[in-house]
């Protein structure tokens, strides 16, 4: 079984075709990077696979149609947008959102959930800022929050949308180390898009290139 299977995927946004007849198979447990120049539709592809965009064609996640898939098996790490945070949530509360999504509306946030969140904060190296407000932290720390939120969700497949964009060199390196540690520890499938070849982790075995709506292996 493939972690993700895409057949003839097309996405049209505001009358403009962004992706056309994309075919792709992502192996379970693999770490795949999709590269390509700006504007080729990498982020659109990731968002579509996370169920955030309307599309035509067939998308299967872990063998099930995306539209019928339990979303909690999909983890999404968006591009860094720390400057847009106006919500006065603490880092702990922001990471807990992943648990709320997993638990549903009726189940209360239990002591076990708290333990899972604290553990994710520790693994991600942001335990020391758990009480800080999300709007007052750096871009690198913000991305670690996204990672921690995804960890507590216990997904099977994680999509990362240019997670290192806007980070300084040290934060990029730090983020890559964290991603590698988590990938090896939790053994989930990872799909990351980036336009910068320097951002590709050394442990990545499969690199794909998106160009003119075609995906090819590099």
């Amino acid at each position: 079984m493939f972690a993700a299977e895409i057949k003839n995927l097309s996405v049209v946004l505001s009358g403009k075709t962004i992706l056309k007849n994309i075919n792709l198979k992502i192996e379970d447990g693999s770490f795949t990077v999709i590269t390509g120049a700006n504007g080729t539709g990498k982020s659109t592809l990731i968002k579509t696979l996370c169920g955030l965009q309307k599309y035509s064609g067939a998308v299967k996640i872990l063998g099930r149609d995306l539209k019928k898939t339990d979303r909690s098996v999909i983890g999404y790490v968006p591009q860094n947008n720390v400057s847009e945070r106006t919500c006065p949530l603490s880092v702990f509360e922001a990471v807990s959102i992943g648990r709320h999504a997993k638990n549903g509306l009726l189940k209360k946030f239990s002591e076990k959930d708290g333990k899972i969140v604290r553990n994710a904060l520790k693994i991600s190296g942001i335990e020391n800022i758990k009480d800080s407000l999300v709007g007052k932290i750096s871009g690198g720390q913000s991305q670690k929050i996204s990672i921690a939120r995804v960890i507590v969700q216990r997904p099977r497949i994680i999509f990362l949308d240019e997670p290192q964009a806007g980070l300084d060199m040290e934060s990029k390196k730090d983020f890559l180390n964290l991603t590698e540690r988590l990938y090896k520890k939790f053994k989930f499938t990872c799909v990351m898009v980036t336009h910068d070849l320097d951002d590709i982790p050394s442990f990545c075995k499969k690199i794909l290139k998106l160009e003119n709506s075609e995906i090819s292996e590099t």
Binding site: L13, C50, Y76, E84, T86, C87, E93, I97, A101
Partner: protein, 269 residues
Amino acid sequence: MGFLTDYFFIKAFIALLFTGLACGIIGTWVYLLNIPFVGVAMAHAAFAGAILGLSVGINPVLSAALLCVASSFFIGPAAEKGGFSPNIFMGILFSFMLALAFLLIAKTGISSYEALSLMWGNVLIVSVKDIYFLAAVTFVIFAFFLVFKKWITAVVYDREVALACGIPEKFIFYSLLILCALTVSFNIRTVGGLLIYGLITIPPAAASRFANNLSSLYVLSSIFSVFSCAAGLFASYFFDLPVGASVIIIASVIFALSFLLKKMIAGKQ
């Protein structure tokens, strides 16, 4: 202390208490979702709806609510299908509704006094039925808030992340818009169709200067909103001023003070 036995004053005070509470919570959502235009768009839809109601002889509050809720259904899907920010559609809606209202005023012979009373409101003439409606809307807002608090938090934090996590983001977002529409339209007689926008926008903005968590933002926003309403009513009673305008001016003074106080505290640190 004659105001304590004044039937009109007591009715107005109770009505504004509900207005303040509802706007404190609704305003916090509008602030966190960064859609300040929603208030102005809804206010103008309510104004146009009320004028429409007067021109065809139906209850203006009811017609205001209908047009307002219809607008809230339009804003979200239209923005998504068009690929624009909801703020763009709210701007268009605001202009269209204002033009529609002026057109109806010009062609149906509604008196300028009646039209202005819908713009500025007059809480002293609210009926007991109006107060029941305000209480019901406030109750629905609080009930929705308590039941869906976890999902609302996720949506106001990041709509995209909430959707990706599997939270029904559209249901929450549209529900918030509808509750905003109901709050605006049922307050057309209290603070007024246009000034209600200020009461939705200003208290949470002032509260955000001091709030260090989400709960304190909700609480401070509600306190500032209720205080603005109460102080505005007293100012209106003692100095013979229009209530709606007094409420908004006091809310604006609170914002200015919060801004200065925050600067002073930051300067000392």
